[in-house]
């Protein structure tokens, strides 16, 4: 509603974390090179203490929580996080109505949810008492509307269901939230971070294994293809190398706590909020693994001849379609699928329009997706100068697909046609100079367009 306060809950990398005034997670090329040469130092700077649980970091591991990041960030192996600059303007709502919740996204989501609760209480109270009564005559009865990116949706969900946030909340939008986990988190923890170079993989594993938040992103759905039991959850085949049993249990407990709280809230008749779940379902997305008593861990690929159905392999490139909505929705929940990739959903014009509709209590757009089934697949991190592939799937030759290399300021540096390779797939091999690049797959004959960033090191 127009008088409600809008709170943005960022995801991983959404808040700048610094130490002594220096941005700790600024993945500049210089910093990344440093990391390769001084891995231990970087790891020490970024990690958390062992066994932190839901608690606060010890002083030596603590980072200062800064502003919501305003520019593009790339977390190798996970993806990018677009900035929050000019968010209110982009959403078309008054600036004073919008606040962004900054938090240390390394910590347990329970910890962050508790901070979100305090943040909402404080800002909502302020909004109710200080909003201009001429413009917001009903602000005294205002609630909050949460706009959540990726993992921010899990933080919000915990706050809403477990910490009593339902009563203060009118509506929630989650974009690409991995409700049932993401295989990318598992890859990071097992040293298989996709796209990241090998030296980086072990660094990522070392650092991220200390982050409770990453553990809480482990898949809780039936991710394992088992020779006897078919699809089963990770817990059924534990231990999994690289994933401590406690971390696996915590992921399951975190999901279960929310689910049980939802049930309890429904039983007590606590008024619910409108939940708009926006997920992606067009892009190849890693979904399953093979693992068993006699089998080592193997990450399955959509073309690796796995027994999984074709439909299982689509998502937003980070979050599988299967995981992109709550295990159980209710009559206040609506899921809409869009064509955008995980990190770019928040920036997509249609999604922003939809968020504005939610914020202003207007009727929702019926559809967020475009008319194309086509999705793209590309690594998020590559070695500069080395060849890598960009793939478009579910396309046809008439689309005349090309890959454009776009600079940060929007100039097209190069355009390369994609070549058919059967089954509706088109590929192109590219090489990039060091830097953060935006690659755009576009059609020469229709308005299809899809882009993502690649970090070349």
């Amino acid at each position: 509603m127009k008088h409600d306060l809008v709170v943005v809950v960022p995801g991983i990398m959404g808040t700048s974390l610094s130490r002594d005034g220096e941005d700790a997670w600024n993945t500049s090329l210089a910093m990344l090179r440093d990391a390769l040469t001084s891995r231990a130092g970087v790891a020490e700077r970024l990690r958390l203490q062992d066994g932190i649980g839901d608690g606060e970091p010890e002083p030596r591991y603590a980072l200062e929580v800064g502003e919501p990041i305003r520019t593009l960030r790339q977390l190798p192996g996970w993806g990018r996080h677009g900035g929050h600059a000019h968010l209110a303007r982009h959403l078309g709502i008054d600036r004073e109505r919008l606040v962004t919740f900054p938090y240390d996204w390394r910590l347990s989501n329970r910890n962050s949810a508790e901070k979100l609760r305090q943040f909402v209480d404080e800002h909502l109270d302020r909004w109710r008492t200080t909003a201009d009564p001429r413009r917001y005559p009903e602000a005294r009865d205002a609630k909050v509307i949460l706009l959540c990116r990726s993992m921010g949706g899990l933080v919000a969900r915990y706050y809403l269901e477990v910490l009593g946030g339902r009563r203060e909340t009118r509506a929630v939008v989650t974009l690409g939230t991995p409700y049932r986990g993401s295989l990318k988190a598992m890859r990071m923890l097992t040293g298989h971070a996709s796209g990241a170079m090998r030296p980086w993989r072990s660094l990522i594993r070392e650092v991220c294994s200390t982050y409770p938040s990453i553990g809480q992103l482990l898949p809780t759905y039936e991710v394992v293809e088992h020779s006897a039991f078919g699809r089963i959850p990770l817990q059924a085949v534990a231990p999994v190398e690289g994933i401590p049993a406690a971390m696996l249990d915590d992921a399951a407990r975190f999901a279960w706590q929310i689910e049980r709280a939802v049930e309890e809230n429904e039983r007590k008749g606590v008024p619910s909020y409108d939940l708009l779940v926006v997920g992606g379902d067009k892009h190849p997305t890693t979904y399953g693994v093979r693992h068993g008593a006699d089998e080592s861990l193997e990450y399955l690929h959509r073309v690796s001849g796995s027994p999984w159905g074709a439909a299982d392999w689509w998502g937003d490139s980070t979050v599988s379609r299967h995981s992109a909505q709550p295990l159980m929705d209710d009559e206040n929940t609506r899921t809409q699928w869009c064509s955008f990739r995980h990190a770019s959903m928040f920036d997509a014009a249609r999604v922003r329009e939809q968020m504005r509709n939610v914020c202003d209590g207007r009727p929702l757009l019926q559809d967020l997706a475009d008319d194309y089934e086509t999705g793209i697949d590309l690594p998020d991190t590559v070695m500069a100068g080395e060849e890598f592939e960009v793939v478009a799937v579910r396309a046809d030759a008439a689309m005349r697909l090309v890959v454009r290399q776009v600079t940060e300021d929007g100039r097209v540096l190069a355009e390369t046609p994609m070549k058919p390779c059967g089954d509706g797939e088109f590929r192109v091999a590219l090489r990039l100079e060091p830097g953060l690049w935006r690659l755009q797959v576009a059609s020469g004959s229709c308005d299809y367009e899809c882009s993502d960033t690649v970090l070349a090191l």
Partner: protein, 1487 residues
């Protein structure tokens, strides 16, 4: 100009001391106090601004303060102030000098005598005030002041006329506190005014002066109340020069709670589409519109209505008149007058205006059913916070919701137009069931515009009373009969002609125009439509004809209208005049809002056309294009645009002289789908209104239509049900439909597909208990109903007829013996009567009810016929008697008692009325051919009477009287003088509360039946003159008064009582018949006295007449009553047999009913076994299995298990009692039988934390043994809550045990091995009662599984090796499930779920984790489901609750139909899988 803060100002003139009056004889110092008191009172009346005034000086040396000049200045000041209400109060001396009345000023006396030139005459005072157009009240508190009235009145009237002419602006009222020849006692009037204002409950002339809900205090009411309080010798007088504006005086006792509800200024949801536009198309084709604002000439109609709206807070105002009288326009105008924009745009405001935003809903009844009108009203009031869902329940519940809304938000004003245009058969229902109850709410005002009679009447239907009679509004405005209407019409026509002839007019032309307008007005029969059309004709002429020519051209009355309408149509389609008539005729026949452009309309037009050629859609578009405007209006229905006549008179014109029945029959045929299969594709109009066309074509057509079951399912119950109820008496389909119609009502949250599937489910399941197998064979296979109804345990129900109950619910019913055999049902303040065939007779009413004072009639009786009919009813406090066809009672008998029972008989020309109350029988009797009047009534009283019935014999009138000591017969009167000593028929306790008697036609005997709360007793008294009687039978019965009826059929006596949700019926020999189910608490019963065996039953919502002896039917005889001893915990267990059959075990109370079934529905009934435990009222656990020898059934009551061994023919051959150790009150909720590989039979039962076992060796004759030790222990759990044995693949059997938050599964082949474990993650107790266990295929393995229901979830736990993997799912549609069953092999394992108070049964494929199609509710609540799978398919045995009489049905989901669930998993609709699928649900954003 000076502005003041508030808009009401009081000026006072106090002249209490006079100069030059040395003796001070005229001084009246206390007049200052009077003025101050008056000012104080006016503050309470809403004049809060600081008053202005002059008062005499206190000594003669100071300047004159209240001399003539000062007073004149004061009045000039008063005039200058910008206020909307003013009061001038003058207190002092008054003098009558000749013909002139003077008010003395401070300096008016010279030498002790009045100098008129220094005083103020009445004329002067009036002239000083006269041209101030503010509403003003002048109080002259002085001697002889009455003499001033005439002068003031004349003067002000003249001044006002000069200023504003006829415009009634500027109200002016003068009150003189004394007559023209009376002296005024000082301060007396003000004192009385104060007293009046201090009496909040004051009533004057039956009007409550300070009703809390009225914002306004009418001045004349106040005046008369003050006058009534003043004693003789001083009579205040009032002169209303011009009426004051409403709210001139504010009611000081008005409560905010009863102020009008606030309507937001910018919200338009309150106003119906028909009323939204402020301009009305005038002439077809011309594009001209008539502006609503030009309505202002009709002030004579508007004034009373608006005044009523302004001052009343409850009640009904009825605007009536012939078609075209301007009813709709009046409502339209009033509605818009409450909007700021419209009121501001008026050139001249009407004299009386409604408060802004004071109308809260305005809607048109055109084509509306009762239900749809409720829904529309709910939608209109949603902006005030009314929950739209409230309109989906019963109408009384909706009225309650509106009442609660008014309590919460303030007084509501609701405008309903076109009641006479309601859907066929609905106008009277809307009036009685919705509008009248709304208008009787304390804070709801209803304005209704209607013609006197419904526009759409069914063939042969002659309403016994008009809609206006039924509405019984407290004001009725007959628009076309207003004296002023002709004047209004003339102005209206003049306006139209003036607007049309724009060229400058000469005075001569003006005179002609006025003459023509007057002529048209005089010949339009008060109808604006006629005048408008006539004016249109003339407007097209170059010059206006003179009145003589007009006279010659047109004839008078309705014919004028007809010829004008014909001309209007001719002009629109001059090249083919027949075409427009043919193509518009369907609109004259159309139901609802109108017809959508397209095939449907063309089909109706071609079916009913007069022309030879067929029309196509191009013709239609051409005609509609031309007629759009004045003839056709665009509207909407079913989400698409439709067209209707702008004025219904066009429809009447197009049907004039035609056989409407035939036309509707043709329309009916044209609308029916070409094939029976096409019902799903028919237009919404057809599904909704085809029944109305058929009914209008005649009963035969309707009967033929409803013989098609597909139509019944697709038709709108709102339209069809009342038509069937009132038109079709003896059709099985009609009876079936009336039984299911309530459950056919639309549930908006349900998709259409599910709605239709649900209707089929109910229809088929109901037919299962009403129809024979042959009859059911005619019911077609239905989409969405993927099961076959094969068998039911319920006895076949007789057919029934159903009518809606009178308002407030039917508390009493009576079937008259004389006359037409009417069935009378009494409700809240009214008695409705029907013939058996459903024709409704005249309504009777108790009279106006006070809000919040419901008069529920609890007993009704009748005797006689026609004009000699006497109907009596009581409401517990009074007995009312109606005579002949009177609507209101002729006599009301109050005697301070509490009436318990009532009977009425006519014997030898006298009527005898018997009422019991306070332990006495009161008997009134009067001659039978006279209207009952108390003065002609004789009264007798007989003591010791709780209940009584009259027994008229040939020679004597007897009464059977139940009192404290028993039941006695007493002769009341007779042809001869005889002994009247009563004879006791029965003596004993407890006291009988209900007695009734039945007298055969010929002999002197009677049958007497009585209820005492414990027993029903029925006696035969062969001869009332002899001291002998015979108890026919007695039965335990807890029935309460007055639910007892005696009747007879050709085969003998029938006795019926209402008890425990059933109507139990016995024949005279005490044999109980099939009980009749009740949906509600039935209040009263009555058999058809003519001996048909029909039974009328009244309840809160319906009056039903069961027809046990309909064609080809007979009352079923029941071997044992279902309602005795089978009350508790209905359960069903199914055990697979070796030969493809299966055993069904039904536990009801302490009984176990066995039967052997096959999957094709063949059933062999077994014995009814009774648990022997004397304290056992219900069986808490049942288990059954087939052994080689036959069936083994175990049932547990308290701590006693009983094992029955039956042979293969289900003959019980052995019974073993197996005590289950433990406390007697600690109930055992589950036991499990299992046959091991060794052939030994084991009965596992829970004992504390362990599971114990009774064991029996293989083969016959083996004894049961229990070694006293637990076979397994469940550590960590408080007690074992539930156990089950499940057989798995490869002969594996698992014992599943639930306890607290734990579940354990032991391998029965090795109970010492570690069990499979599941610990509830939150360590919370598992609701084990609904838990089930089984095996399911997981990958390539079959793994054990349990499932249990939780709040809003069902949890399924699979064991993957030793890891327990819980996976919850939410049942589809948010349904809460509390019981589960598993059926099917592990690779097609189906979970069945249901809830006790829902009839829906959901299915889920546990191998694929997805929802399967659900079994929609079958019309009853489901207590339990047994399930079994074989080659034929999946059989469900569905056990109903007591609500359905413990009905149990067997349905089969045929294998060939459910195979596709697994073979083509995406081929069936409505599935949801556990993995996310696209969700299209709407959130509140889109609601």
């Amino acid at each position: 100009m000076e502005a003041i803060e508030h808009d009401g100002l009081v000026a006072t003139v106090v002249v209490d001391r006079y100069r030059d009056d040395t003796r001070r004889g005229r001084d009246r110092e206390y007049l200052r106090g009077a003025a101050a008191k008056f000012v104080e009172q006016t503050r309470r009346l809403g004049f809060v601004t600081e008053p202005i005034g002059v008062t005499s000086g206190t000594d003669d040396t100071s300047p004159v303060a209240a001399g003539r000049k000062q007073i004149r200045d004061l009045i000039a000041n008063l005039r200058k102030v910008q206020a909307s209400r003013k009061i001038l109060y003058w207190t002092g001396h008054g003098h009558q000098e000749g013909d002139t009345f003077y008010l003395a000023c401070e300096d008016s006396y010279v030498n002790g005598r009045l100098d008129p030139s220094r005083a103020v005459s009445a004329q002067e005072l009036a002239s000083w005030l006269g041209n101030d157009l503010t509403d003003t009240w002048v109080v002259l508190d002085a001697c002889f002041s009455g003499a001033a009235l005439e002068a003031v009145e004349d003067q002000v009237k003249r001044a006002r006329n000069q200023e504003v002419g006829d415009d009634p602006t500027g109200g002016f009222v003068v009150v003189a506190t004394a007559g023209s020849e009376e002296r005024a006692t000082e301060t007396r009037w003000v004192d009385c005014l104060e007293e009046v204002l201090h009496t909040p409950d004051l009533e004057y002339s039956q009007h409550r002066l300070f009703a809390r809900e009225q914002p306004d205090l009418p001045l004349h009411y106040l005046h008369w109340a003050v006058a009534a309080r003043m004693r003789d010798g001083q009579t205040p007088r009032i002169a209303v020069v011009r009426p004051l504006r409403p709210l001139f005086l504010v009611n000081p006792y008005c409560s905010d709670r009863v102020r009008p509800a606030t309507r937001p200024e910018d919200d338009e949801s309150w106003i119906g589409e028909e009323f939204r536009s402020e301009s009305i198309p005038l002439f077809a084709g011309g594009g001209d519109t008539w502006r609503l604002r030009d309505f202002s000439p009709r002030n004579t109609a508007l004034g009373p209505l608006v005044t009523w709206m302004n001052v009343r807070s409850t009640g009904m105002y009825v605007v009536t008149g012939a078609s075209g009288a301007g009813k709709s326009t009046l409502l339209h105008f009033v509605a818009h007058l409450t909007t700021k924009k419209f009121a501001a745009a008026l050139e001249r405001l009407p004299p009386v205006q409604p408060e802004l935003h004071s109308v809260h809903a305005v809607l048109h009844c055109r084509g509306r059913t009762l239900a749809s009108l409720c829904q529309e009203l709910a939608a209109k009031l949603a902006y005030l916070g009314l929950d739209r869902h409230t309109a989906r329940g019963t109408v009384p519940a909706f009225v309650e919701a509106v009442s609660a809304l008014a309590d919460r938000k303030g007084t509501l004003t609701l405008l309903f137009d076109g009641l006479d245009e309601s859907a066929v058969g609905h106008a009277f229902r809307v009036a009685r069931e919705l509008l009248t109850p709304l208008a009787s709410l304390p804070r709801v005002k209803v304005v209704v515009a209607t013609r006197a009679n419904a526009r759409r009447a069914l063939p042969g239907e002659a309403a016994p009373e008009s809609l206006v009679d039924v509405l019984a509004g407290d004001r009725v405005l007959e628009l076309d009969r207003l004296v002023e209407t002709e004047h209004d019409l003339a102005r209206h026509v003049e306006n139209l002609l003036r607007g049309r002839h724009l060229s400058p007019t000469t005075s001569e032309e003006r005179v002609t125009r006025e003459a023509v307008a007057r002529h048209i007005a005089a010949h339009s029969s008060g109808l604006f439509l006629v005048a408008t059309l006539w004016a249109r004709r003339l407007a097209e002429l170059d010059a206006l004809p003179d009145p003589d020519r007009l006279e010659a051209e047109l004839r008078q009355g309705a014919t004028v209208l007809d010829s004008l309408l014909a001309q209007e149509l001719r002009q629109l389609d001059p090249e083919d005049p027949r075409r427009i008539r043919d193509l518009l005729r369907p609109l004259a026949l159309a139901q609802g809002n109108g017809l959508p452009l397209g095939r449907l309309w063309v089909a109706m037009a071609n079916a009913t056309r007069e022309a030879e050629r067929e029309y196509d859609e191009a013709d239609l578009e051409l005609v509609v294009g031309r007629a759009r405007g004045a003839v056709l209006a665009r509207d909407g229905e079913f989400g698409e645009p439709v067209y209707r006549f702008h004025h219904p008179s066009f429809g009447g014109h197009l049907l004039a002289g035609l056989d409407e029945r035939r036309l509707h029959a043709l329309a009916d045929r044209a609308l029916r789908p070409a094939s029976d299969e096409d019902w799903d594709a028919v237009a919404p109009y057809t599904a909704h209104y085809l029944a109305a066309h058929a009914a209008l074509a005649g009963d035969q057509v309707l009967e033929e239509l409803i013989a098609d079951y597909r139509f019944l399912v697709y038709a709108s119950p709102e339209v069809l049900e009342p038509l069937i109820a009132t038109r079709l008496a003896n059709s099985p389909q009609a009876s079936l439909y009336l039984t299911v119609a309530d459950q056919f009502r639309a549930r908006p949250e349900v998709s259409r597909e599910r709605l239709i599937a649900g209707r089929w489910a109910v229809l088929k399941a109901t037919a299962l208990v009403m129809f024979s197998a042959e009859e059911r064979a005619d019911i077609p296979r239905a989409p969405g109903v993927f099961w076959d109804d094969l068998w039911t345990s319920a006895e076949r129900l007789p057919l029934q007829r159903i009518w809606p109950a009178p308002s407030g619910g039917a508390c009493a019913v009576h079937w008259e013996r004389d006359g037409e055999g009417l069935i009378h049902a009494a409700g809240r303040g009214e008695i409705r009567s029907w013939t058996w065939a459903g024709r409704e007779a005249r309504l009777r009413e108790t009279g106006p009810l006070f809000p919040g004072d419901p008069v529920h009639l609890a007993g009704v009786v009748a005797t006689g016929a026609g004009e000699q009919r006497v109907v009596a009813a009581h409401d517990g406090r009074a007995v009312r008697v109606w005579w002949g066809g009177d609507r209101r009672p002729s006599e009301e008998l109050f005697w301070g008692g509490r009436v318990e029972s009532l009977d009425l008989a006519r014997w030898e020309g006298r009527h005898w009325l018997a009422a019991t109350g306070h332990g006495q029988l009161w008997l009134w009797h009067w001659t039978g051919d006279g209207r009952p009047a108390r003065r002609d009534m004789s009264l007798r009283r007989i003591s010791d009477a709780e209940s009584a019935a009259l027994l008229p014999l040939q020679d004597d009138l007897f009464a059977v009287i139940a009192g404290a000591e028993g039941i006695r017969l007493r002769r009341l009167t007779g042809r001869e003088s005889r002994e009247t000593t009563p004879r006791y028929l029965w003596r004993g306790t407890p006291a009988v509360h209900t007695v009734t008697g039945l007298v055969p036609d010929e002999d002197n005997g009677a049958v007497i039946a009585a209820l005492d709360g414990e027993k029903l007793r029925v006696w035969q008294v062969p001869d009332l003159y002899l001291d002998q009687c015979r108890l026919l039978f007695d039965r335990e019965s807890k029935a309460q008064a007055p639910a007892l009826a005696l009747g007879r059929t050709g085969s003998g006596l029938l006795v019926a009582v209402q008890e425990d949700g059933h109507i139990r019926i016995w024949t005279g020999d005490g044999v109980e018949q099939v009980p009749l189910p009740c949906d509600h608490e039935h209040k009263a019963l009555a058999f058809d006295p003519s001996g048909s065996g029909r039974l009328a039953v009244a309840d809160e919502t319906r009056v039903r007449v069961w027809d046990p002896h309909g064609p080809g039917r007979g009352g079923g005889r029941r071997p044992a009553p279902a309602s005795s001893g089978r009350q508790g915990n209905p359960r069903v267990e199914v055990a697979q047999g070796p030969d493809g059959s299966f055993l069904v075990v039904r536990a009801q109370g302490r009984s176990v009913l066995l039967s052997r079934h096959t999957s094709d529905g063949r059933v062999v009934h077994g014995p009814v076994l009774e648990h022997p435990g004397s304290r056992v009222t219900e069986l808490t656990a049942v288990s059954a299995l087939w052994t080689d020898a036959g069936a083994l059934v175990v049932a547990v009551g308290r701590r006693q298990a009983v094992a029955w061994s039956c042979d293969r023919d289900l003959v019980a051959v052995r019974r073993d009692e197996l005590p289950l150790e433990g406390t007697d009150d600690d109930q055992v909720h589950s036991v499990a039988l299992h046959t091991g590989d060794d052939g030994r039979v084991r009965l596992y039962w829970p004992r504390d934390q362990g599971v114990r076992c009774w064991e029996r060796p293989a083969g016959p004759g083996g004894e049961w043994r229990d070694d006293g030790r637990a076979v397994v222990y469940m550590t960590g759990a408080g007690t074992v809550d539930r156990l089950a044995v499940v057989n798995g693949p490869g002969g594996v059997a698992r014992l599943a045990v639930w306890g607290g938050p734990l579940v354990r599964l032991w391998d029965l082949s090795d109970l010492s091995a570690e069990p499979l474990k599941f610990d509830e993650p939150g360590n919370e107790p598992i609701p084990a009662g609904g838990g089930v266990a089984g095996f399911v295929r997981q990958g390539s393995t079959e793994v054990p599984l349990i499932a249990y229901p939780g709040p809003g979830r069902v949890r399924v736990v699979r064991w993957l090796g030793s890891y327990a993997h819980p996976r919850p799912f939410r049942p589809p549609g948010g349904m809460v499930i509390d019981r589960l069953a598993l059926v099917g092999p592990p690779d097609r394992l189906v979970l069945v779920g249901w809830r006790n108070d829902s009839g829906r049964i959901v299915l889920r494929d546990l191998t694929g984790d997805r929802d399967l199609p659900a079994l929609e509710p079958r019309g009853y609540h489901v207590a339990d489901v047994g399930a079994v799978q074989d080659d034929a398919g999946l059989t469900l045995v569905i056990q109903g609750t007591h609500q359905s009489g413990l009905r149990c049905d067997q349905v089969l989901l045929r294998q060939d139909r459910i195979d596709r669930w697994w073979e083509e998993p995406r081929a069936f609709p409505g599935q949801r899988t556990a993995s996310p699928e696209a969700s299209t649900r709407k959130t509140r954003h889109e609601a």
